[in-house]
Subunit: 665 residues, 2 copies
C-alpha cells in the first residue's frame, strides 16, 4: 500500500515507474509544517525505533543519531562528520512497532535530522517534493513494495561479477598488459582492467591517447580473448577545444549547460576549461550517450561514469575573481583573519554552490537552475548512456556504473561508493552502505576495495577483498601516486589467490541471488533484524549481513585482529573456505561466538534449511562452470534452489535462464 | 638492564635522567646500516610479535602494520592515514618470545616502518640518535625500567583530576560564569573551566582582554570559592607589537628564534605576525616561563600550552612569495595543473618544512637549525613554565599540560591528544592512545572528550565521558562554531549527571592509582596482554584496558550500540554504576561475554584479589571525602590497599600521604 502526497511543485525525477493518484493533505504519521527553508516533516521516534535507508550515506546501517543532507557531493574526505556523499537516495525505513517506508522524491537537497538535534525526533526538510508513504507487514515487505514502485534494478553482464583491477595511473597499453600478465603469471583470476583518465587525450571524453594507446581495439580484443574486459572511465565535463567534435557538436546544438542568460557556462575539471552536457535535456542526454559509440565500436563493453555530481574544480569567472582578490592584498600586512580570506578565496572555488546556482539546464525550452535539480545530474548522464546502449545493441548487457546517483538511476546502471580511503573504518562503512543501497534499488554496487586515497596495507586489502568477495561490484581501485595495490605486488600472494578464488567458487550463488533479487525487487544485503525483527540483539548488529537467501557474513574489520565476535540470530552452519574450497564446516547454535579468521580464509554462515552452490574456482567468470556444482547444505529434506543459468550477456536470456534444481540432503 | 648506543652526533634532549656509559657498536638484535636518509635499524618480526609504544600515535595499541614518522605536527585532520601527530614519543616495546624495549632518542624526525613495507620486518630510520635497548623479564618490567631511565612523571594537583569544561568560544566573563551556573543549576560536578584564546587581548600571550575580562583575579577567586579553577591557554608565538612588553623584552634580549643569519624570524599564528620564543636557549626558556607570573598573580593555578609544535600559519616571507605567484598568473587561461599550483602556493604555507628549515635556535651561542631539533619545541616550552613554577612556589603543584611533546616533557606536565574530532573512531583511538602514552611517561593525559572538530552527538558525548571517567585528564572541549557541548545543553541531563558522578565516586581509586604509578614508574593503562602475556586472545584486544591494579574497562564505542562484547582474561566481578553508586555486581568466569551497557551506566570489571575504594559523589574533587569509603571487593582474605591521602596541592605531601589500609572480605 503506497500513498503519494505532493508539496510544492516537484521537478519530474522519473524515479518511480508507477503512476499513483495524489492523496490529499499530508501523511498522518508526520507533523507537517511549512517553514522558510522548506516543508518540515516531523515524526516522534520511539526509543526502540531503528531508522534504515539513505542509500550509500555516512555512518551506520541504523542511521539514527546523525543529520544528513542529500546533495550529491564530490568530496573524497569521507568521515563521520560528512552529511552528503556522492549519491542522494531519499528513502527511509522506520522500523518500529509497525515498519513503514517513506520516499522524499525531490531533485533538490533534502535534510534528514534523524535524532541528531533531538534524540527522539526525526525531522525531514524538503522543498518541492513528492512524498511516498510505503506500508507493509515487515521491513522486507516495505522494501519490496518500494522497489516495485521504482522499477527493476539493472543487471550487468556476468563477467562484471568477476574481479576487476583498477588504478588511476595505468598510463599506457604497456601498463595495462603488465597488469594482465601480473595476474596471469601469479595464477590470480581476473575479469576486468579499468582505465582511469590517463587513457584519454588531454582528458577529452571519448578520445583515446594515440601515443599511449595506439590501437585500443586490438588491446581490447587481445584481452577479451583471455577473458578480460577493458572498462574505461567517462567524465561528465567536455573540454573546450576547437576542432574537438564532441565540444563542437554540443556547442552547435545547445547541448551544454548555460548561465541564466543562456550563454554556455565554462567550468574547469581535469581538461581545464570545459562545459557540462545538459543531460536534463532529453536530446542532449541521448546525444551525449551516443558518444559512447566511439568506444563501443572498439569492443569496449563496460564504462564507469565519473565526476558527475557534477564536480567543478573552479569556474572561469570565479577563479578570475579569486585571483583579483589575492592581487588586491599584495603588499598588505595580513593578520590571520585577512590571511584566512585569501585561503578561502582559493579553496572555496571547488564545487561552489555559487556555480551550481549560476548553471542552468534547458528543459523543454525553459531554463532550470541547476542548484534545484542538482541531484539528477549523474543519474541522467548514466541514463543517457544506457538509453544509447539499448539502441546500439538492444539485447546486450553492458557494464555501467556511476559515482553520482539518485533513485531511478538504479534501472540504468550500478554505482560505486566513490573515492574512499585505505582505512579500516572505510571497510566498516562499506559493509554498512550495502543494505542502504539495496533498499534504494542499487543492487550492483561496491566500494573501491583496498581504498582509493592514501596507502593501503596488505592485511587491509586482504580483509577488504574477503568482504568484497560478496559485493556485486568487486573492484580493487586506488588513486594516482598511492602504493601499488594489485594483489601480486604484496608478499603473501597465495593468500590473495585463496581469497579471490572464493569469489569464483561462489559465483553461481552470487550471480543467481543477484538476478533473483533484481527481477523480484528484493534485497541482496540484509541487516540481521530484517530477517529476525523480534530479535533485539539483531537490531544493533552493524557489521554482519545476510547475503541472499542462504548466507550470513561477518567480515573482519580490525587491523591485527585474529578473528572477531559474531552473533548468530539462529542456528547456522559455519563454513571456512581456502583456495575457493570449503575446508571445514561446523553447526553452531544461536548465540555469541568469537570466531578466529586467518588472513587467507573466507568464513561465512549457512542458514538452516538452505543450500549454497559452489563451482570450481576459475580464472575468470566466463570459465566458471555453473553446471558442475558442489552444494554446501544445511538441510534435512530435499530443497529447491533456483540457479541463474542464462548466457550472461543478453537481456532476453535472464528470466529464461532461471532454473530450479532440487538438492537432496 | 639498559644499554646505550650512539649514532652520529645527537642533540641533547634531556629525555633521560640516568647517565649511562656508551656501548660500542650496535644493538645485536638489529641489523644496522648507514644509508643516505639516516641510520637504518632492521629487526625481523615473528608472525606472533606485537609492537607497542609510540605514545599518542595513530592507529591501534599494537602498532604493527603501519608506518609512522615522529615529527610533531599541527594538523587536526586525524585519521588512519596519518603518520605524525602532535607528540613524538620514540619508544617501542617489541613483545615477542622475550620482550624488550628500544628508545630512539633524537630531536629530529624518526621513521618507524612496523611491518608496513614488509609485514615481517620492523625498520627504524633515524639520524643523530642515542639508542637505548631496555631489557626486562616482562613487558611491564621493560616499561618500568624505561620509566626509571626517563624519570618520574608529573603529578598535578588533585583538583586537576576533576571534570573540566572547555570550548573555544567562551568570549567573556559572562560566558564563563554562565558555564559555572549551568553546572551548578543542573547539579553537575565541575572542577575547572578552560579559557581558550578569546580571553587574550589580540591573542597576546599573558595579556587579558580588558573589556571581556575586566577583573580576572576576582573571577578566578569567585570561582575558586566554589571549588572551580580557571585554566587559561598559552600559545607559543608572541605577537609582534611595539609597546607589548613580552615582545619588546624578548626582542631586546635575543630570546626569539631567528633565521640563519640571526635576524628574528617572523611567522604568523593567531595574533598575525609573531615571533617564536627560543625555548631551546635556557635563558630564553626561563624568561618565557617567568611570564606566566602575570596570570599566577591573579590566582590562576593551571595552564594548557598550545600551538607549540610550533604551529605556523605562514611566514611573512613565504606569504609574500605565494601572493606574488598568484599575481603572476593573473589573466592567464589556467589548466588544471596550473590551477593546482595556485592552490598549492597558498595551502602549502601552513607548517611548512621550509619555515622549519629557515628557523634557528641559539644554543650556547651556536645557531641550531630548528628542523633538526623540531620535536623538542613544545617540550621545552612546557619545561620553562614548570621550571618557573618551581621558583614561584616551590612546593606547590600546578596544572600544566601541552599539545606538542617529546619524552622528557612527562616530568614537567601532562599532554592532551590535540585537536581530534567528534567521531566514534576518535573515541576508539583515544582508548588505544592511553597505554602508549603511559609507556612513555605521559600519565597525565586525555583527549578532548566529545571531540574538538565538527559536531558531537548526545550519545557520543555520553559514551566518551564514560571512558573519560577513567582518564586522568577529563576535559570536554570543542572548537569555535561547533554545537554546544556542555552536558547541560543536551536532553538527558540525568544521564550526564550519572556518568560524571562516577568520576567523583572513583576519585580515591583513580587518584591513588595515579600517584602510585607516577612515583613507581608504572603504567596506569595496561593492554590486557601486559597482565596476561601467555593469553593469545588478550594480545588482539584493542578496546579494553586495565586501569590501575584493580580494574578492567571495556568502553562502548559504537553509535546505537546497546552494549558490547567483552573478553575476560580471568575471573572478574562485573560492576554497574549509576549516579556514582554501584547498583549491581556479578562474578564472571574467564571468557567472552556480550554486556549490555545503557547510556547512563558505567560498567567495569574488578580483578580477583583486589579492592576499589569508592567515595560519595561530590560536586568537585576537593569535596570528595577520601576517608569515608565504600569498598568494592573481590577478595577472599584481608587485602591491603594504599590510598593517596595527601593534601592534593603540595609536592612534599605526596609520598607522605600514601597510606596503607587493610580491607576485610
Amino acid at each position: 500500500m503506497i500513498a503519494k502526497y505532493r508539496f510544492g511543485h516537484p521537478f519530474p525525477t522519473d524515479a518511480v515507474v508507477q503512476e499513483l493518484p495524489l492523496s490529499a493533505g499530508a501523511p498522518a504519521c508526520f507533523t507537517v509544517t511549512e517553514e522558510e527553508d522548506g516543508t518540515h516533516f516531523r515524526y516522534a521516534l520511539d526509543k526502540e525505533d531503528c531508522v534504515f535507508g539513505l542509500g550509500e550515506q555516512a555512518r551506520g546501517i541504523n542511521k539514527r543519531g546523525w543529520i544528513y543532507e542529500n546533495y550529491n557531493a564530490d568530496d573524497p574526505n569521507i568521515n563521520e562528520a560528512r552529511q552528503s556523499l556522492y549519491g542522494s537516495h531519499n528513502f527511509l525505513l522506520i522500523a518500529g512497532e509497525k515498519p513503514f517506508g517513506v520516499f522524499f522524491d525531490s531533485a533538490d537537497r533534502v535534510l534528514f535530522d534523524i535524532g541528531y538535534t533531538d534524540p527522539d525526533e526525526l525531522v525531514v526538510v524538503a522543498k518541492n517534493v513528492d512524498v511516498y508513504l510505503v506500508e507493509g507487514e515487515s521491513a522486507l515487505a516495505v522494501v519490496h513494495a518500494f522497489r516495485t514502485l521504482i522499477g527493476q534494478s539493472y543487471i550487468p553482464p556476468k563477467w562484471a561479477f568477476g574481479y576487476g583491477q583498477s588504478r588511476w595511473g595505468y598510463m599506457d597499453e604497456g601498463d595495462i598488459r603488465a597488469v594482465f600478465e601480473g595476474f596471469r603469471d601469479n595464477d590470480l583470476p581476473l575479469d576486468a582492467i579499468y582505465m582511469d583518465i590517463d587513457y584519454m587525450l588531454d582528458y577529452k571524453d571519448f578520445s583515446v591517447h594515440p601515443a599511449r594507446f595506439p590501437d585500443l581495439g586490438k588491446l581490447a580484443s587481445d584481452l577479451k580473448a583471455e577473458g578480460v574486459y577493458l572498462v574505461p572511465i567517462i567524465d561528465a565535463a567536455v573540454k573546450v577545444q576547437e576542432g574537438y567534435s564532441v565540444y563542437e557538436e554540443g556547442l552547435a546544438n545547445g547541448y551544454f549547460c548555460t548561465d541564466s542568460e543562456g550563454i554556455p557556462y565554462v567550468v574547469a575539471v581535469w581538461p581545464g576549461e570545459s562545459m557540462l552536457p545538459d543531460v536534463l535535456n532529453p536530446a542532449a542526454r541521448l546525444w551525449f550517450g551516443s558518444q559512447y559509440k566511439a568506444l563501443l565500436d572498439q569492443g569496449i563493453e563496460g564504462f564507469w561514469n565519473d565526476m558527475n555530481e557534477p564536480a567543478i574544480f573552479y569556474s572561469k569567472g570565479r577563479l578570475a575573481a579569486a585571483i583579483d582578490y589575492v592581487v588586491s592584498v599584495k603588499g598588505q600586512n595580513l593578520d590571520t583573519h585577512a590571511f584566512n580570506k585569501v585561503s578561502y578565496a582559493i579553496n572555496s572555488l571547488h564545487n561552489s554552490p555559487e556555480d551550481y546556482a549560476a548553471l542552468h539546464h534547458n528543459v523543454e525550452g525553459k531554463r532550470v537552475c541547476h542548484a534545484e535539480v542538482h541531484n539528477l545530474y549523474g543519474y541522467n548522464m548514466t541514463r543517457g548512456a544506457a538509453e544509447y546502449f539499448a539502441e546500439y545493441a538492444p539485447d546486450r548487457r553492458y557494464l555501467l556504473f556511476s559515482r553520482a546517483s539518485y533513485i531511478g538511476a538504479h534501472r540504468y546502471g550500478g554505482i560505486w561508493t566513490g573515492d574512499n580511503s585505505s582505512w579500516w573504518s572505510h571497510l566498516r562503512h562499506n559493509i554498512a552502505q550495502m543494505p542502504g543501497m539495496d533498499m534504494c534499488g542499487f543492487l550492483f554496487a561496491g566500494a573501491d576495495i583496498g581504498g582509493h586515497c592514501y596507502n593501503t596495507t596488505e592485511d587491509l586489502l586482504l580483509r577488504w577483498l574477503a568482504f568484497g568477495v560478496f559485493t556485486p561490484l568487486m573492484r580493487n581501485h586506488t588513486t594516482n601516486g598511492s602504493r601499488d595495490q594489485e594483489p601480486y605486488r604484496f608478499k603473501d600472494i597465495a593468500a590473495f589467490r585463496s581469497i579471490l578464488s572464493a569469489r569464483y567458487a561462489l559465483l553461481p550463488y552470487l550471480y543467481s541471488e543477484y538476478v533473483k533479487c533484481a527481477l523480484r525487487g528484493e534485497m541482496l544485503f540484509k541487516p540481521l533484524c530484517f530477517e529476525y525483527p523480534e530479535d533485539r540483539r539483531a537490531r544493533t548488529v552493524e557489521d554482519q549481513l545476510f547475503v541472499g537467501g542462504s548466507l550470513m557474513i561477518a567480515p573482519v574489520c580490525d587491523q591485527n585482529a585474529a578473528g572477531r565476535y559474531v552473533y548468530l540470530p539462529a542456528r547456522m552452519k559455519l563454513v571456512r573456505m581456502k583456495n575457493g574450497r570449503p575446508c571445514s564446516t561446523k553447526v553452531l547454535e544461536k548465540g555469541d561466538y568469537y570466531i578466529p579468521v586467518a588472513l587467507d580464509e573466507i568464513v561465512f554462515f549457512v542458514r538452516e534449511g538452505t543450500v549454497v552452490p559452489l563451482a570450481k574456482p576459475a580464472k575468470n567468470a566466463s570459465s566458471v562452470d555453473f553446471t558442475r556444482l558442489h552444494w554446501l547444505k544445511f538441510i534435512a529434506a530435499p530443497t529447491a534452489y533456483e540457479l541463474a543459468l542464462d548466457d550472461g550477456f543478453t537481456k532476453s536470456g535472464i528470466e529464461k535462464g532461471l532454473t530450479a534444481v532440487t538438492v537432496e540432503p
